[in-house]
């Protein structure tokens, strides 16, 4: 994940300012992951850092522990906590066409939440998220199940798994744009259908439509579902499946009663990846809908193009809150702690 984002960083940078980069890149895309890391790494040192330092001279061991945690704390502090705090602070500022004015106004929030457009955009984003999530879950589970249970040798499993990651060797944008010649009015699909005489004229809804958006989102995100599910499936003790068969379970019963429940943590982790990525997506929606569909992040991008940074920041905080709620809901349904 991290590597992929870093590799696509220059591309994004070319599209907007550093602030936007921070907003999308740090603030949203990596949030659940970053948050988990922050929790694991720094809750304790954060709480006890004062005491630890003062005792440092007498207790060199504790000092060493805090010293070891410091680099991560600094990195997370500067690149994760500080930007988020900045966004929250800026979201209360005032602005006009010429500049930003430090202030404490709730105007940005009332404007955002009071707008009919915001609600419609959220609904649209949620629609994309739910569709993409459901499709990636089904496809991802299918692929992972096939890899884990139908491929016999570990070598072949690894080879096929690497094959799954091949598309990731190119950037998101390239993969997205490559759909255009496939789905376009005179694209591969349409010309094939016409030549075969299945349709008399090109199908319009293939490209620049919600269909195209969901298709591209599923294409881009399925691997995030495959990986964690494959991981949990590989950890299922094969004797459990034999035990189920010994108890008279059919193939479907084994799948439903043993494999699916045990794959839940992987499905939850994959869902977190997919949901957070899709909720924060703007480029796929923009390119694949041809500008006809909106997403929350796209709305923010537009606000920033108009230099309405505080409005975008308020929007960002709202989105952050919504995504956190969704992640919390997923974690409430499935206990993933055993998997980590």
């Amino acid at each position: 994940m991290r590597v992929r984002h870093e590799s696509s960083l220059p591309l994004r940078e070319g599209w907007g300012g550093v602030f936007r980069l921070l907003l999308h890149h740090r603030g949203f895309r990596n949030l659940p992951e970053g948050r988990q890391m922050a929790m694991i790494a720094s809750t304790e040192p954060n709480e006890r850092i004062g005491r630890g330092r003062s005792r440092g001279l007498r207790l060199p061991f504790a000092a060493i522990c805090y010293l070891q945690a410091t680099p991560l704390l600094l990195i997370l502090g500067f690149f994760f906590i500080l930007p988020i705090l900045m966004i929250i602070v800026v979201s209360f500022w005032d602005y006009d066409f010429a500049g930003l004015y430090p202030d404490f106004l709730t105007m940005n929030y009332t404007d955002t939440l009071g707008s009919w457009v915001t609600w419609k955009t959220y609904l649209n984003t949620l629609k994309f998220t739910v569709l993409t999530w459901a499709l990636t879950l089904v496809i991802g589970f299918g692929v992972a199940y096939f890899l884990a249970f139908h491929i016999r040798t570990t070598t072949m499993q690894m080879v096929l798994f690497l094959v799954c990651t091949v598309p990731f060797l190119t950037s998101n944008i390239v993969r997205m744009i490559s759909w255009i010649p496939v789905l376009g009015r005179n694209g591969l699909v349409n010309s094939a259908l016409i030549k075969l005489g299945i349709v008399p004229e090109p199908i319009e809804w293939l490209l620049y439509s919600d269909f195209a958006v969901v298709l591209a989102l599923v294409h881009l995100n399925t691997l995030f579902m495959v990986t964690p599910i494959f991981n949990t499936l590989m950890r299922i003790d094969r004797s459990l499946i034999e035990a189920a068969r010994d108890c008279g379970a059919s193939d479907w019963q084994v799948l439903w009663n043993v494999i699916l429940p045990l794959a839940k943590p992987g499905m939850a982790i994959g869902s977190i990846f997919v949901v957070t990525l899709v909720m924060a997506d703007f480029s796929t929606v923009q390119v694949m809908s041809g500008g006809q569909s909106a997403s929350v992040a796209l709305m923010m991008k537009n606000q920033m193009s108009l230099l309405q940074y505080p409005a975008a920041a308020a929007n960002a905080v709202v989105l952050l809150f919504v995504v956190l709620l969704m992640v919390a809901a997923i974690l409430r349904v499935v206990d993933i702690r055993k998997e980590l």
């Binding site: 004797s239 459990l240 108890c247 008279g248 379970a249 019963q253 009663n257 043993v258 045990l262």
Partner: protein, 361 residues
Amino acid sequence: MPKAAEIDIASVSKVYGTSTAVDTISLKIPAGSYCCFLGPSGCGKTSTLRMIAGHEGITAGDIRLGGTIVTDFPPARRGTAMMFQSYALFPHLDLVDNVAFSLKMKGVARDERRAKALEMLTLMQMEAYAARRPSQLSGGQQQRVALARALITNPEALLLDEPLSALDPFLKIRMRAELKKLQKSLGITFVHVTHSQEEAMALADLIVVMNNGRIEQAAAPRTVFEKPATAFVARFMGDHNVISGRVTSIEDGIVSVTVPQGHTFKVRDIAEIGKPIDIGIRTDRVRLERTSDKSLGFEGIVSNIEYRGASVKIAVIGAGSEDFTVVISDGDYFRKPVATGDAVSLSWALEDVIPLGLVSA
């Protein structure tokens, strides 16, 4: 009470690729008996058990359970239940649902199956833990749940794959006694795979010693111990000295065996002159006494002494044997103690020499 099934294994083989795990074995396990498959790892005992259970395909031969040929049946239709080595309890289900699993697969209504499962757990004295998950249980408790899950289907035969290997030594002995008691009260056939001869001796009505995919001996524990059929069985069961040599003369049913180092021993057997032969001598039947008959004993040097409390184990080098073991009672030892490096005379009676054959191919 569930009925017990006789298990009839007829010329069964299992081949994995080019290696033969089980090589045309035939065996009848009487209904209601406790049978132990005993052997070192890789001897084919687990493969045999899994073939009886239906978790492993049979390459050649047939398996009959209580008169029905089950060779091509799926596990659940065979009337067997298997208990897995690591118990294979479902980690995501509580104990009641674990035990009720096979009833759920059959479509028994929720309340009915849970009630029946609870009954089974009560039988295993595990009802107090009914709402727990398997990971919250100790090894012995997990075993009882696994037993409850296996027995809820009223199997005619219970197949146990090294059921005690995951337990600590103390618990092992306790659960062993529980298994035996359970088998007695249920009256069904138990087939138990183990690599511990002590476990097999303690439990079995029928011990099946396996090696290299073949059955070396299948008999009651006492027979296996007192009359081991082959050198492998004698060595594996322990408490036997095995001497290998060639037949040099036969007289009145007494065979003379000469070891490569020249010493000759006597054994009551039928053999051909010149053929290789193994003989076994129980370690506890050897005395530290001089004998008039040179071929019922030898002179050796004590190489090691182990005090074991009630007995003392003495290792002796001599007559071509590097590690000839003598076990004598502590009383006898301390009446006439010996030390490492001492020269000693060993002797035994002709009745205590057992001729060991080879596996009949």
